[in-house]
């Protein structure tokens, strides 16, 4: 194993060191335009070294395991310039039990993926023969090991499974894309659910309605809520808070949203897309309340950012492939409300139901702004869902919207690392073509 050798080498030169090794295999089965197109096998592995030398942090990473001395030398070179260390690597600690490994993913046969994809496409084509479907079904296996000079040495085996179906329909000269799917650390057993949603989306979108222009109630489905929650995710990122770039700086303990809003980061959910027993620095995972009844409770930190801010890590050090740890959310969980979705709709005299958007994250996210094209959305009138609206944008400020809530659905849905109910907001700006 390269970990022991790297740690031994690094500890000779540095005051403290941390080594991370990761090895993954993913096997996507890919259908395009209704037919099986590609089967992939992707093997990746990388080692990275983070050192503290003369009070400064250095980092280097590689996929080439043949020269550990060079990797350590690069990390040491980086430490000549690196940020002043405000962290100490953690020692061993008891880790919570979090399910991140599903044997059913390991034994899932690629041939089964091919069958599932064919079945999904056949189901859509029975209903709409003029549709072109793409399907990706993928299993992922990962092994990682994290060790440091404080005696921490944790190994982890994890799995992930992803299925995603999209359909393109060109109808009366217009285009319709609909996409549905799920990613989880466990095998997804009910792909049919997503196929059925694709078919019902296409059906619902067959008629078109003129969107209202002005300020109207908008019901964001759980799937569309990702747009808004990701903006809040950015605002509670400890790194942005430390830089003073978050609109939530200095507002801990303040009411920043409607009292019905309770939001947490939680890496300890079994089989959650962002779940881990410990974070990328070996800090044990734990749930962190972000908004409690609308009151801002915490920002998300890793060790270094927390050190700079004179506070404690929340166990949110997230590592990209071969990248240094950075604070980020794991799974974001918005608590369910009291309202059945049907009641939320019934309450809308005139407004929109938004299920998918184009252009998320491209506005001034730092200020909480969004301005997106409604990719898939419907006119709601007299409490009834009417036809699809096109050529229409919704815009606003997330922090203002979260103080103008009409109602919150009583059912949570999981969309990747976001768990949320549908939420209906008041007076959302809608711009539309004439």
């Amino acid at each position: 194993m390269p970990v022991d050798r790297l740690l031994e080498l690094a500890s000779r030169h540095a005051d403290a060191a941390e080594v991370f090794f990761e090895e993954t295999e993913s096997r996507p089965v890919q259908f395009e335009n209704n037919r099986l197109k590609y089967i992939h096998t992707k093997n990746r592995r990388a080692a990275s070294v983070r050192v503290i030398a003369n009070g400064r942090i250095g980092f280097a990473s590689t996929t080439d395991l043949s020269d550990p001395a060079r990797l350590v030398a690069q990390a040491m070179e980086s430490a000549q310039f690196g940020q002043e260390a405000k962290l100490a690597f953690p020692g061993p600690a008891p880790m919570p039990s979090v399910a991140v490994h599903d044997p059913a993913v390991v034994s899932f046969a690629i041939e089964r993926g091919v069958e599932l994809g064919r079945d999904a496409i056949a189901t859509v084509l029975v209903a709409y023969p003029d549709v072109l479907c793409s399907v990706e079904i993928s299993k992922w296996l990962g092994h990682s090991r994290l060790a440091n000079t404080q005696g921490l040495d944790v190994a982890s085996d994890a799995t992930a499974f992803e299925c995603y179906i999209s359909a393109l329909r060109i109808h009366d000269g217009g285009l319709l894309w609909v996409g549905e799917g799920e990613s989880s650390r466990a095998l997804v057993h009910d792909i049919e659910r997503y196929t059925a949603k694709i078919v019902s989306d296409i059906r619902q979108a067959e008629t078109e309605s003129a969107p209202p222009a002005g300020a109207f109630p908008v019901l964001f489905t759980a799937k569309a809520m990702g747009l808004l929650l990701e903006i809040i995710q950015t605002a509670v990122n400890g790194k942005l808070v430390q830089k003073g770039a978050s609109p939530l700086v200095g507002r801990l303990g303040e009411q920043v949203a409607d009292a019905r809003i309770t939001l947490a980061d939680d890496a300890t959910r079994d089989y959650g897309d962002g779940s881990e027993p410990h974070d990328g620095e070996g800090t044990p995972s734990r749930p962190t309340p972000l908004l409690e009844q609308g009151v801002l409770r915490h920002y998300l930190y890793d060790l270094q950012t927390a050190g700079v801010m004179g506070t404690e890590t929340t166990g949110n050090a997230v590592r990209g492939f071969a990248a240094p740890p950075q604070p980020d959310a794991t799974n974001l969980v918005l608590s369910a409300g009291d309202d059945p979705v049907a009641d939320l709709l019934t309450g809308i005299e005139r407004g929109l139901l938004v299920d998918d958007v184009i252009g998320g994250g491209q506005s001034n996210v730092l200020a909480g702004e969004f301005s997106v094209n409604v990719g898939l959305g419907y006119l709601v009138e007299g409490g009834q869902v009417h036809g699809r609206v096109k050529d229409c944008m919704v815009a606003g400020n997330v922090f203002e919207l979260f103080s103008r809530i009409r109602g919150i659905s009583n059912v949570q849905e999981t969309h990747g690392a976001i768990v949320t109910p549908a939420v209906c907001f008041d007076a959302v700006s809608i711009s539309a073509a004439e």
Partner: protein
């Protein structure tokens, strides 16, 4: 060329197979606010095998280069599980080439890490020195890539590309009002493009601070003058992706919409994709399938003239391969991508264009863009109202959206000031991000463009 690659391919039970190997060395530096957040080096070796059997593809990628014959076997087996019809690849004479893509000026690999750090620090301090600046971001990246490609058809291509770039941003804040402005450079011309950006740092600060006082734009329809950066992103997002043949070749309805010879815009509108331009972010000599790069006229004088192809899409559509099959790294299969995509310049002077416009919106820079092939959105970094033929008040939160075809037809004036934009970002498609590309355009005017707002 290493004979073991051809030997491994000799065992391939496939209609076609290829091996890619890649060595990559990257240096990254990132200042955010006062702190140096990242100064790191990443090196990698990676390889992949792609095999085609009866029209089906198998793809295997790896970081351990041991046992290539086993990887070739796996790729062929996977392809055999997929393939059920016939393989189609447009013929390309097998290239045998060793191309060293020399940077025209200083090679960033020859610049000491200390110098790169000092340069980034200088820009960062310059930005932070201004009042009203809450925080900053200064990012530097260079990446040297040596790639080797061999195929069962006998192609052998070795290429090298050395990318280098810098992005500087200022974030100004007044209470909950947070505004950001940025500038980036990045291409294959070498380290000097990152030097001497001090004035750009000042301009970025001025823009961010000025945005604090700007009012959000009122939503509605505007006559929009897009500056070269934004117009280039528009050409890439709104039109360029539609010209990628993999969206069209198995989709008869889209193929009908994208029929060559159809009018797509006014007479003065010509859009070109050209990977052969010297030292640009999207430049290369051979694509990831070993097809020689060449310029492709996508729209000529308003008429759809050709589209971008891989060997497979060209064969399936009975058109010429254009050398646009690209992968972000050899760990991904090549797919149809743009390179340097630009709107050709025409006659309008910028000043005349503004004066001629009466009332409208002058939209500059781009935070990003997205398209679903019919509707597009893109966000301007800064914008001004145009009143009575003059540039007037600054506005913010300008996101343009529209129907691609209608908007192309609504372009009614094209400037004489073509500019290209590279940078640290790049294009994303099917999970492959960022691919180095550049976009280019002069100022253009679009009538009746929908702008989101409150």
């Amino acid at each position: 060329m290493d004979a073991s690659l051809q030997n491994a391919l000799a065992q391939a039970r496939a209609d076609y197979a290829e091996i890619h190997l890649e060595r990559r060395a990257t240096t990254q530096i990132a200042y955010v606010g006062k702190e140096l957040e990242d100064i790191s080096q990443f090196s990698s070796v990676a390889g992949s095998v792609r095999a085609l059997v009866k029209g089906g593809w198998g793809f295997v990628s790896f970081h351990s280069l041991d046992d290539l014959p086993h990887r070739v076997r796996m790729a062929c087996e996977q392809a055999a599980m997929v393939g059920q019809t016939e393989s189609h690849l447009a013929p390309v004479p097998p290239a045998v080439a060793r191309v060293v893509q020399a940077t025209v000026a200083t090679d960033p690999r020859q610049v000491p890490l200390a110098d790169k750090e000092a340069l980034a620090r200088r820009y960062n301090q310059r930005i932070l020195a201004h009042d009203h600046v809450q925080t900053s971001s200064v990012r530097y990246r260079d990446a040297a890539v040596q790639s080797t490609f061999v195929s069962t058809e006998g192609a052998e291509v070795e290429q090298e590309a050395v990318f280098c770039g810098m992005a500087v941003a200022a974030i100004a804040r007044d209470g909950a009002n947070v505004q950001r402005a940025f500038k980036q450079v990045g291409d294959l011309r070498g380290y000097p493009i990152c030097e001497g950006l001090d004035d750009e740092c000042d301009r970025v600060v001025e823009r961010a601070v000025a945005l604090l006082a700007a009012e959000p734009v009122q939503g509605g329809h505007y006559t929009v003058i897009a500056n070269p950066v934004l117009a280039g992103v528009f050409a890439h997002e709104a039109f360029g992706h539609l010209s990628e043949a993999d969206f069209v070749y198995e989709n008869p309805q889209l193929a009908e919409i994208m029929q060559l010879g159809k009018r797509f815009g006014p007479d003065p509108l010509s859009i070109v994709d050209d990977p052969t331009l010297d030292g640009m972010a999207g430049s290369y000599r051979y694509d990831s399938e070993g097809t020689p790069a060449r310029p492709t006229a996508l729209i000529k004088d308003g008429i759809l003239t050709s589209r971008l192809h891989s060997r497979e899409t060209a064969a399936r559509m009975g058109e010429e391969p254009t050398g646009n099959a690209r992968a972000i790294t050899c760990e991904y299969p090549p797919i149809v991508r743009m390179s340097n995509t630009y709107i050709e310049p025409r006659d309008w002077e910028f000043g005349d264009l503004v004066a001629d416009t009466g009332d409208g919106l002058y939209a500059c820079g781009s935070i990003g863009g997205q398209t679903d092939m019919e509707m597009f959105t893109f966000s301007a970094e800064e914008a001004f109202l145009i009143k009575d033929g003059r540039i007037a008040d600054r506005v913010r939160e300008v996101v343009l959206t529209g129907n691609v075809f209608e908007t192309l037809a609504n372009i009614d004036a094209i400037g004489n000031d073509l500019e290209f934009l590279g940078g640290l970002g790049g294009c994303g498609k099917e999970g492959q991000f960022p691919l180095r590309v550049s976009t280019g355009a002069p100022h253009i005017r679009i009538r009746n463009c929908l702008v989101g707002g409150r």
